[in-house]
């Protein structure tokens, strides 16, 4: 088997007094987009935070291509992994360009102004996310979809191999959800870029359509992992959500769609 992207071993994590994972092990394959799915409170976000080094596990390790990320310095980690929380806080006078430029944080040098490489990375990120014309706009003046693109541009400016996104499509209407997932697809399919995205998603139809691998979690346990067509079955839907359902391929893309029977 190819070396996994993330190798999680014996992970034990608590949030406050609540144990979220106990001796959890999983391997995330080295594919473009990995979607993490599961019911509310199953530990999706916590797993993503562990992958990004934001949560400190009590026990166990998370390895990125064999490197234990718990042993990396914050800067070294941030040069390999970008993380975006569900709703980053916004201050009224932040501009798109200003926020995207913060993505350069792990690359900046003390006492020095931003370098040519910094400016290039910011411009490229703005271009990829189609925000060039909006660069001087305030974040609060943007639509939800544009704002989400601005945060993704910040992560792009960070120039990491891995980008972790926590439910980037919630609060977006259907066309914006599709546009955003198309953008993620574009990021990982771009020629000459070995970019990987791990994304927590709620919408199974969206997840099945755009992800290469789906990882299903329920109550801190790994239920399934693999390509959407193999993973999304009536059995796993029952295991994940406790819901009776049929799964049929959609007529347009032939991706699995879940039809609840209840």
């Amino acid at each position: 088997m190819k070396q996994p992207l993330f190798d999680i071993q014996d992970l034990t994590v608590s949030l406050g007094a609540q144990r979220i994972y106990s001796q959890f092990s999983a391997r995330l394959p080295d594919v473009g987009i990995t979607g993490i799915i599961g019911p509310n409170g199953c530990g999706k976000s916590t797993l993503l935070r562990c992958l990004g080094g934001l949560a400190t596990p009590e026990n166990g390790s998370v390895r990125l291509r064999g490197v234990n990320i718990g042993q990396l310095s914050p800067i070294a980690r941030a040069r390999q992994i970008a993380f975006l929380p569900q709703e980053p806080p916004v201050l009224a006078d932040m501009t798109v360009e200003g926020v995207v430029a913060k993505g350069r944080t792990p690359w900046r040098k003390a006492f020095l102004p931003s370098s040519r490489a910094d400016r290039d990375a910011v411009n490229q990120a703005l271009e990829t996310t189609q925000l060039i014309e909006l660069r001087l706009r305030r974040l609060t003046a943007l639509s939800g979809g544009q704002r989400q693109r601005a945060w993704i541009a910040m992560a792009l400016a960070q120039q990491t191999e891995v980008i972790l996104l926590d439910e980037p499509t919630s609060y977006l209407d259907l066309p914006h959800q599709i546009r955003l997932m198309q953008l993620l697809r574009h990021l990982v399919d771009q020629q000459g870029q070995a970019r990987r995205v791990v994304v927590v998603l709620h919408d199974l139809t969206i997840a099945a359509r755009f992800c290469d691998t789906l990882v299903g979690l329920s109550d801190g346990k790994l239920v399934c992992a693999g390509p959407p067509s193999e993973v999304l079955t009536p059995k796993t839907v029952m295991q994940l959500y406790g819901l009776r359902a049929q799964v049929h391929p959609d007529p347009v893309f032939a991706r699995p769609v879940v039809y609840p029977e209840e």
Partner: protein
């Protein structure tokens, strides 16, 4: 034009105005010549020390306020609102009574107030932080008054003037020392600019960008404590300056948050202007600069709360 340059120019003009203005106005040429001849009494004894001290203290408080607001992501959580200034004052009075170094007393007082607020308001949200801060500040103020009442009359008069935030007895040595401290703080800010630029973005985004949060918190809180203690020692407890400087700097110059240096420059502009106003309004009595600052800042606090309410409504 860059925000820092804009505000530096504004500060330069204000300083020149502050040196010209007073009971007697000087023409620009006289100010210029006066600056270079140490015999010029009006410039060198009356106006330069006050103005220099106003600039230094304004820089310190503006920077401290912007740092604190950015770290807590709370526009209300500035050293003057959450009791640091009051803690420093209490430390000052206690150090005087004990015969210890007043700067040490102020630093310990400010650090103690900061620690108390952080420990009390732990994870209870921004409003709790401010309310505890007001409580700690009020306690420190009351304790200061109680101690003062037992002091000799001469000390009381002297301390009452200091407590109202006066620049009347400014001297160049104090201004120079404080300015040195501000420059050191500025160098630390430049050194850590990479991390400090991510203030306001929230813990998760900051960690994701590779910020070592505990180290950054320690740096910011340390700087805020020392800057507040230094400025309070030099000019007394000036209210509302740290609170108004950063948002005003951002509004006027269009600087991106956290706008640390713009906030420092705006703090200096505000205090210089407030001191000039104090001297113009009452040239013969020593009207405290802190009073003028409160007259500007307190209505701004009310306006801020009012506009916040309108935003949520």
């Amino acid at each position: 034009m860059k925000p820092v340059i804009k505000l530096s120019l504004a500060l330069g003009c204000l300083v020149f105005l502050a040196l010209s203005g007073g009971r007697d106005w000087l023409v620009p040429a006289d100010v210029w010549h006066g600056l270079w001849s140490t015999e010029n009494f009006v410039i060198h004894v009356l106006r330069l020390p006050r103005t220099a001290l106003a600039v230094a203290a304004g820089l310190a408080l503006g920077l401290a306020g912007a740092l604190m607001q950015g770290l807590t992501r709370n526009p209300l959580a500035t050293p003057d609102v959450i009791g640091l200034v009051q803690g420093a004052s209490l430390g000052h009075i206690m150090a005087l009574g004990l015969g210890a170094s007043v700067f040490l007393g102020e630093t310990v007082g400010a650090a103690f107030a900061l620690f108390a607020v952080i420990a009390l308001a732990r994870e209870q949200g921004p409003i709790a932080f401010v309310l505890y801060g007001i409580g700690v500040g009020a306690t420190a103020s009351a304790a200061t008054t109680v101690i003062l009442l037992r002091a000799p009359d001469a000390t009381i008069t002297q301390m009452m003037l200091w407590l109202s935030g006066s620049l009347a007895r400014a001297d160049l040595a104090t201004a120079g020392a404080l300015f040195g401290g501000v420059v050191c703080a500025g160098l630390i800010v430049l050194w850590r600019a990479r991390e400090l630029r991510t203030l306001w973005l929230g813990d998760d985004v900051m960690i994701g960008l590779g910020v070592h949060l505990p180290l950054l918190r320690f740096t910011v809180l340390g700087l805020v404590t020392l800057l507040t203690a230094g400025a309070t020692l030099a000019v007394g407890p000036i209210g509302f300056l740290a609170f108004t400087a950063a948002p005003l700097a951002r509004a006027v110059s269009g600087a991106e948050p956290p706008a640390l240096f713009p906030a420092a420059l705006m703090g200096a502009c505000l205090l210089t202007a407030a001191d000039l106003a104090a001297r113009l309004i009452a040239p013969l009595v020593t009207l405290p600069t802190g009073l003028i600052m409160t007259l500007i800042g307190a209505p701004y606090l009310i306006f801020f709360l009012w506009s916040e309410k309108r935003k949520t409504a």
